[in-house]
Every structure is written in C-alpha cells, then in structure tokens.
C-alpha cells in the first residue's frame, strides 16, 4: 500500500482517533500529581493539545492574508 495514498491516510487517522480515545480513558486509571486545578480534568492535556493545534493553524491561516508576498518579493 502507498504510504502517501488516501486509503493509508484514512487508516492512520482512525488508528490515531482510537489511540486518543484510549489515552482519554487512561486518565481515569492513575493518580495525578497536578500543579494546577485544571490538570485534574479528565483528558485536559488532550483537549488543550487539540485546541492549541487547531487554534494555531487557523490563526496562522488568517495571518497569511497579511503576511504573504510573492516569492521574489525582496528581489533576490
């Protein structure tokens, strides 16, 4: 199977989703030693990682409107 094909990508995505679900459930199984209250929420790190990632990419996409120039903008 091609590692850059669509089918492989789909499989990786669902595998990843399954891992994420398992990691979320894992949060109920061990004793935490948090520095902050929010760390007690189940799946806090997962939610934070997802939100940070999506927020970052959307913000960057928005910034591109202002920052993007032609490749030879500086004339070299």
């Amino acid at each position: 199977m091609d590692l850059d094909g669509r089918r492989f990508g789909t499989r990786v995505f669902y595998l990843l989703a399954a891992f994420c679900a398992a990691l979320f459930l894992a949060d109920f199984l061990y004793a935490k030693h948090p520095h902050f209250e929010v760390e007690r929420w189940p799946g806090f790190y997962g939610l934070y990682g997802f939100a940070a990632y999506v927020g970052l990419v959307l913000a960057a996409k928005r910034l591109r409107r202002w920052l993007r120039r032609d490749e030879d903008y500086y004339g070299d």
Partner: protein, 563 residues
C-alpha cells in the same frame, strides 16, 4: 603563560594546516580532528582555571567547569556529526571555515573572561559566514552580508559592554553578571542578538536556509547555543528572560505553519526551541538550569538530524520547497526513517530524547510561572505541527511529487544514523544525559502521569492535523515569502533612507542653484574689475604657477646658503 591549549583550538589549528593535507587523506583528517580535539578536552582537569596577565589585565583563557563541559561535549559531538555528513564537500574554504567555526565556538564556551569570549565570539561570526556564502548564489551572498553585519554588531556590543563593565568594576571575569548597569545591559543585548530574541531573531531565518547543505547543519548547532550558554553563565535568574523566552517559543510557530521552505521551517522551529532554554535561564533554579543544559544537549542532536535529513533532500532533489516535494519515502527510505526519529525527538515523544530533556524546564515553569507554563504547553503543540508532522509529512509522504531520486549518500546516512541512535539512547537511558548536567539530579522522567499527559498532548494535536487535512482547512503549501521583522531593514529602512537621500538631493539642488548664481555673479564682478595688462591681474595656467613656485624656492635656497 598558557600551559594548555584552550579546548577547540585543535580544530582551529587543524584548519590552518588543511590546505597542506592531500585530498586522499582529507576525509580521515576531517573526522579525526573533532576526535583529537575531544581527547584534548578530556585530558584537561575538570576544574582547570588558566590565568594570563596581558598588559596588566587579568584574563582567563581557559575555565573548565560543569556548565562549560556539557556544552563542550555536545559541541564536539556536533562537529563530528557535521564532519561525517559533509564528506562530499570539496571546497577547502568551506571545510576550513567549518573547523574554525566549531573550534572557536568551543573555545568561547571555555572562556573565563569577557575579552577571550569576545575574540572567540567574533571568530564564530566571521568563520560561519563562509558556510552561507559557500552556496555561491546571489541570494546567499545578500543573506550572508546581513548575517555578518548583525553578528559582528553583536560582538561590538559585547566589547563595548565589557569595556564599560571593566570601568565600573575593574573586573573582566565572565561570571554571573545580571543586568545591573549600562555595560552589563549591552552584554545582555549582545547575547540576545545571538540567541535570536524576538525582534532580534530574523538573521537566523534569513541566513540558515541559504547556507550550503552541510553548512546549515553546523550553523544549527553552534551560534545560538553558544548564546544560550553565555546567558546561562552571565544572566541566570534574570526575570525578564522568562517572558522573552515564552514569546520566543510561541511566535515562530505561526510562521512555521505558513513557511514553504522546509529548512526555513526548521529555522523557525530552532527559534522556538531556544525559547524553552531561555525560559530555563530566566527561572534560574538548579532544576531550570539543568533543563536548559539538557534541552540544549538533546536539541543540538535532533535539530542537526532534521537539518541533515532536509539537507539530504535538497542535495538529491535540488529543492526544499514543501510545495514541490512529497512521496520521497519511496526513493529515500533511510532518510525518511531518520527524519521521523528526529521529529519524534523534537516533539518529545516518550522514549525519545526530547521527552527526557524538556521535562525539567516544564516542571520548573509549573512551579510559580503558570502563564508561562501554558504558553510553553501551547508551543509544544506547535512543535508537534512544524517539526513533528509538517517536516516529514510534506517531504516524504503527502502527495507523490513523482520525484524519483537516489537515497542520500552513505556518509550522510551514517551521520544521520548516529544522530538518530543518540536520540533514542538518550530517550531510553536518560541517566547518560543526566550525568553530564551541571547540577546533580534525581529526576525520574518516566512516570505514568508524565507519559500519559505528554502522549495526550501530542496525539490529540496530531488528531487536530488529521481533522484539518480531511476537512481541507489546513492551509496549502504555497510558494511565497512571509513578511517578518526583517521587512523593517530589508524594505522599510532602505525605502526611508531612499526618501531621505532624495530629499537631501533636492535640497542640495535648490541650494546649489542659488549658490551657483552667487558664484557666477562674483566671477563676473571679478573679471570686470580685472586689469589684464598687469602681471598679477592675469589668470594663470598651472604650469606658470609651478614655474613661479620653483623660482621662489630657488631664490630661497640661494639666500639660505648665501646667509
């Protein structure tokens, strides 16, 4: 008198002899030198302080201690990896520049006074620019010039600050300084430029991607980490470093998302990594400084590995634009695998070096710096994007670009293989790294909470990538330049100066046309009053003037001897 050669000097002396080494023996010579230099360092006592009185000023050219040793070790390792990786280079100038650069960075790490530091500091700047110019393109030439001006500028600030500090305190010792005066402030700024503080950072993203394939690997290891070492030595516990470092971790990740040149993505990523180290210096506790040293050590190896992998792609395909790449895992499976190890390490997956190194600074930040902690956590998700996913995905997977090239040359694969192995060894056996840190530590990186929370952060971020790709929201890779702070000195300042020059020209023209009329009137007046018949009323030619001067001189001589 200096009894022992400063560490790193074997590399510099080796560069001087390089032209005499026949081509056949070059490879062995270039690999042997870092080993010889490392053996030399190992032979020095672990607490050596060598003093030298120079024109009545006390200098300390060599000072060996735990903080300088950890950087000295990893600098030698980087020099060795870069030497193996760069065996295809036939350009003697580039080989020599690389040796002088690595050697002087190592010497700077062991400099115990500000003047010795300055000399080595400027040597790294001058030597390293040849690794950029080595690309021999117009673009690299301009980029190298900008790089050189900024790097030399940093050295000038260091020298000026040292002079003021000497006047203030009568000491040139390079110890804990703190920002307490104008002098130490200038030194802080000099270090900040080389450490790529926000707004002082753009030389890095400008120059590193323009350097040669092998040159960028060297560049990635030394200049900025030397600055981190210098900050840790002189400014540990300086509170302003915490927000500076936090800003450094966060803002480059936005650019890394948009950037198309994958080596420039790595340059932004490098900037973001430096932020973690700067935060550690700013917090300044033993745990935090251990974190800075551990992060620098692990980072030099995985960042070199990533630059080596992208360099190999550039070397084989001739391009490093994400928009032109994809599917290269077919042609370069080894390079792809090594790159994935580098990506897992920088993203800090358990069992890889970043995981055991990054934890110190994160823990130090969690104790008393909540805002900083959450910014660093955000930046960690950002690292997952640019270096964990984007670099390997767009180069080796994504959409097949149809490019079919040869695998990276054997020497590149060996260098990448050693680096990848080290990433895993440190990740699996952290005691190897912890034993080198400046302060003793009993930290245990592998506990359930740390592993689970880190995996959550990274895998949910990766899930975010999956969702954005599948919904078509992820911004496509496009050929472009993204405006950054360098716009101010590459566009705005030249434009302003141009406007100023034109305004001055107009003023001059206006004034001179007025003045010219005045001169013409005066000349007319003079010629009107001139009486041409008399001797001195004539306008003379130069020859006539010279004749008169000779006659006067002759008359003077005659009168002198006669009298």
């Amino acid at each position: 008198m200096i009894e022992a050669l400063p560490p790193g000097m074997p590399l510099v002396l080796g560069a001087a002899l390089l032209p005499l080494v026949p081509r056949r023996a070059r490879s062995a010579y270039l690999i042997g030198l870092p080993l010889v230099s490392f053996a030399h360092l190992r032979a020095l006592p672990d607490d050596l302080v060598q003093e030298l009185v120079f024109f009545g000023v006390e200098l300390v050219p060599v000072r060996v201690d735990p903080l300088s040793l950890v950087f000295g070790w990893v600098f030698h390792l980087a020099a060795l990896l870069a030497a193996i990786y760069g065996l295809h280079v036939r350009d003697t100038l580039q080989q020599a520049a690389g040796l002088v650069y690595a050697g002087s960075a190592i010497a700077a790490t062991f400099a115990g006074d500000l003047i010795s530091l300055f000399v080595a500091w400027e040597a790294t700047a001058i030597a390293s620019v040849f690794l950029i110019w080595g690309s021999r393109t117009e673009r690299a030439y301009g980029s190298g010039l900008r790089y050189l001006v900024i790097q030399i500028g940093s050295g000038v600030l260091l020298l000026a600050g040292s002079a003021l500090h000497y006047v203030d305190t009568g000491s040139l010792a390079f110890e804990q300084l703190g920002v307490t005066s104008l002098g130490t402030g200038l030194i802080f700024l000099a270090f900040g430029i080389k450490a790529a503080f926000p707004l002082l950072h753009n030389w890095l993203q400008d120059a590193y991607p323009e350097a040669t394939v092998a040159g960028t690997v060297l560049l990635s290891a030394f200049t900025t980490k030397l600055a981190i070492y210098a900050l840790a030595r002189g400014f540990a516990g300086t509170p302003i470093l915490v927000p500076i470092g936090a800003a450094m971790t966060a803002f480059p990740v936005f650019y890394a998302v948009l950037e198309n040149d994958l080596r420039r993505v790595l340059a932004y990523s490098l900037n973001n990594q430096l932020g973690f180290m700067v935060v550690g210096v700013g917090i300044g506790t033993e745990m935090a400084l251990n974190g800075t040293a551990a992060h620098a050590f692990a980072h030099i190896i995985y960042k070199a590995l990533l630059f080596m992998a992208m360099g190999a792609v550039l070397f084989r395909t001739g391009t490093i634009r994400a928009s032109d790449l994809g599917g290269l895992y077919r042609s370069m499976p080894w390079t792809a695998a090594f790159c994935l190890v580098g990506s897992a390490s920088i993203a800090a997956f358990p069992l890889f070096s970043g995981f055991v190194a990054k934890a110190f600074v994160m823990n130090a930040a969690a104790e008393g710096f909540p805002l900083t902690f959450f910014v660093l956590l955000f930046a960690s998700a950002g690292v997952m994007d640019h270096s964990g996913i984007k670099i390997p995905y767009f180069a080796f997977f994504a959409h097949d670009s149809g490019r079919r090239v040869a695998e990276a040359p054997w020497h590149m694969r060996i260098a990448m293989g050693i680096a990848a192995l080290l990433c895993i060894v440190i990740g699996v056996y952290p005691a190897a790294l912890y034993g080198l840190l400046p302060f003793p530590t009993d930290y245990v990186p592998y506990d359930t909470a740390h592993v689970v929370t880190q995996l959550q952060l990274l895998l949910f971020a990766a899930l975010g990538f999956g969702v954005l790709m599948r919904t078509g929201v992820y911004p496509p890779e496009v050929r472009s330049v993204n405006l950054d702070f360098d716009w101010f000195y590459r566009r705005a300042a030249p434009a302003l100066i141009g406007m100023g020059v034109r305004a001055l020209e107009r003023t001059r023209d206006a004034l001179s046309s007025g003045a010219w009329r005045g001169i013409e009137r005066a000349a007319q007046e003079a010629s009107r009053r001139r009486v041409p018949q008399r001797l001195l009323g004539e306008s003379w030619r130069t020859g006539t003037g010279a004749l008169w001067a000779v006659l006067l001189l002759a008359a003077y001589l005659l009168l002198y001897y006669a009298g």
